[in-house]
């Protein structure tokens, strides 16, 4: 099946000579939620802008459902809805007008019933006749989402959709994104909130300094790179890790109540048993044991550190 988005060897050097993207190759499959993670200035927005036709492509190509986004731009762009990172709206337009405008701009005949449904879903219906400048930041963000969805796109780009959105609304946006995915919409989002990627994404791409350093199924990524921690609750608090246990990768909790042993569950001889033995032979008493899977955040920090 043709991928929703197919990016081949994409490079970008801005006019000031800064190379923002360095040879990105990436396929996003139909119907998946793909999260693009990376620190500030990594090139996430640049990549999205090039796919959407806002930034010129130096080298490489972008295909949207098999349509080249330069030569066959009408077809390619008609599939895409974009929610940009910046809140850029026409301050003096009303919500209703600006959303209707977007739909028609994308070549679709007006459909008030659909726009009504959309605004209701995004809890914007009671604001439909309000000028955008009178809305709160979170509402403006939702107006941008409504604009992006106004022409019933098959691919939705969300560039940091939940920046500046409160916890409750963030949860409801996640639910809406999932709902869209169920309707078959392919979603590409960027975020700094790793919990967001962890919560939402099927697949994750990590981008750093213009290079895609990893693309992987979220589960595989977390398994592959995810170390586990064995946390041992001690009878008696320690002030330092005992010399006799220095062979192990150990940490001590702040209050000295817990020893934390980091190990890789994918390896057979990972030292879990040896560690337990060492505890016993050193007469370090414990009353509880727990294990903890490292989060995507830990993985992310590790990856960025390595690259």
């Amino acid at each position: 099946m043709t991928p929703a988005i197919s990016v081949q060897g994409l490079k970008k050097t801005y006019a000031d000579g800064y190379q923002a993207l360095d040879d990105i190759t990436l396929d996003v499959q139909r119907g998946e939620i793909f999260a693009l993670l990376g620190p500030n200035g990594a090139g996430k927005t640049t990549l999205i802008s090039m796919i959407c036709g806002i930034v010129k492509i130096d080298t490489g190509s972008v295909k949207v459902f098999g349509h080249d986004n330069v030569h066959d731009y009408r077809q390619a762009r008609s599939y895409i809805g974009l929610v940009p990172q910046e809140l850029t709206t026409d301050a003096f337009e009303t919500v209703w007008k600006t959303v209707s405008f977007s739909r028609e701009l994308f070549g679709k005949s007006s459909n008030p019933a659909y726009i009504e449904e959309l605004l209701k879903k995004l809890s914007l219906w009671d604001k439909k006749d309000a000028q955008i400048r009178t809305l709160s930041g979170g509402m403006k963000r939702r107006v941008m989402i409504a604009k992006a969805l106004s022409h019933e796109p098959e691919i939705l780009f969300l560039d940091e959709p939940t920046a500046g959105v409160d916890v409750e609304l963030r949860k409801s946006m996640w639910a809406q994104v999932r709902q869209l995915r169920e309707m078959g919409v392919t979603i590409i989002l960027t975020t700094h909130y790793i919990e967001e990627a962890e919560e939402m994404a099927d697949r994750i791409g990590v981008i750093n300094k213009g290079q895609l350093i990893v693309t992987e199924e979220k589960k595989v990524l977390m398994k592959k790179l995810g170390k586990k921690q064995l946390i041992v609750h001690l009878h008696h608090p320690l002030s330092v890790v005992p010399e006799s246990l220095s062979a192990f990768e150990l940490g001590l909790s702040k209050d000295g109540q817990c020893l934390v042993f980091t190990y890789d569950p994918a390896i057979q001889n990972n030292g879990v048993l040896d560690f337990m033995d060492a505890l016993k032979s050193n007469a370090i008493g414990c009353h509880d044991i727990e294990t903890h899977q490292s989060s995507l955040e830990d993985i992310f920090v590790q990856l960025i550190g390595e690259s």
């Binding site: 762009r77 994308f106 070549g107």
Partner: protein
């Protein structure tokens, strides 16, 4: 063709004008009235007829051109500059619409607005001097062509400008002098020989001359030359816009 898209841009631009309809109409009407009080009544009564036309009536075509040129440029340049400035241009760049279609939307709307203003100025003038239009079809032709050509020029200015100062620079530094020196308030035959020749380098002379001919059948240059010049000017603007679109100049990084 993305007709819905063109129409959406056109409607959007027109509704922007309707939001400030008071200003859009009041300012040209007020300045026309002022021109007539000063040049028509106060000074004009002491100026003899030019080519058999009273001075008050003589300045009507020039006055309309003066307003229409300024309006076309400022409407069109602001129309495209503003979304560039606020960033809302992202949506147009990401839409399945060609630059050509975008230009039709913006230039069409700007030209419509200045055409309406031109007609309002004409009607205002009618309160001060008896209007006679010998060749209404030619008059409409010159008016519409001027609206389109200078809206295109405004569109180019709006894309070229990278700040509000530049947006005002062209109208102020180039268009205003050209219209004032283009024979809005006098026949260039009234100038010394040397300045007459210099005036012929000014494209606005041909517009005003042709436009005035459609009113009173008196002109500085022949009708054919006027028509040719405006078409040439239109051609140059279209070529420039085509080049901008081909290269994405100032629109895409």
């Amino acid at each position: 063709m993305n007709y819905h898209g063109i129409l959406a841009i056109y409607k959007f631009e027109m509704s922007r004008a309707f939001r400030t309809i008071g200003q859009s109409i009041a300012s040209p009407v007020i300045s026309t009235v002022l021109y007539f009080i000063v040049f028509g009544a106060a000074i004009g009564s002491r100026i003899e007829d030019i080519d058999g036309v009273s001075y008050g009536a003589f300045i009507v075509p020039g006055l309309i051109m003066l307003t229409v040129l300024g309006q076309s440029i400022s409407n069109a340049s602001f129309g495209i500059y503003f979304p560039r400035f606020t960033g809302t241009i992202y949506e147009i760049l990401s839409a399945p619409i060609s630059f050509f279609e975008v230009a039709i939307g913006y230039v069409g709307a700007a030209a419509t607005k200045s055409l309406v203003v031109g007609i309002i100025v004409l009607m205002t003038a009618g309160f001060f001097v008896p209007l006679e239009i010998q060749h209404p079809v030619w008059m409409a032709f010159f008016l519409v062509m001027t609206c389109i050509t200078f809206s295109l020029l405004g569109f180019i200015v709006g894309i070229w400008a990278d700040g509000f100062e530049k947006l005002q620079l062209i109208p102020l530094l180039i268009i205003t002098p050209l219209t004032f020196l283009g024979g809005s308030f006098y026949s260039i035959h009234m100038l010394p020989d040397f300045w007459q020749k210099i005036s012929l380098l000014n494209p606005v002379v041909y517009l005003i001359s042709g436009f005035r001919w459609s009113f009173y059948e008196s002109s500085d240059v022949s009708l054919g030359v006027s028509v040719t010049m405006i078409l040439v000017f239109l051609g140059i603007c279209m070529a420039l816009v085509a080049w901008i679109f081909k290269t994405g100049y100032r629109l895409k990084n």
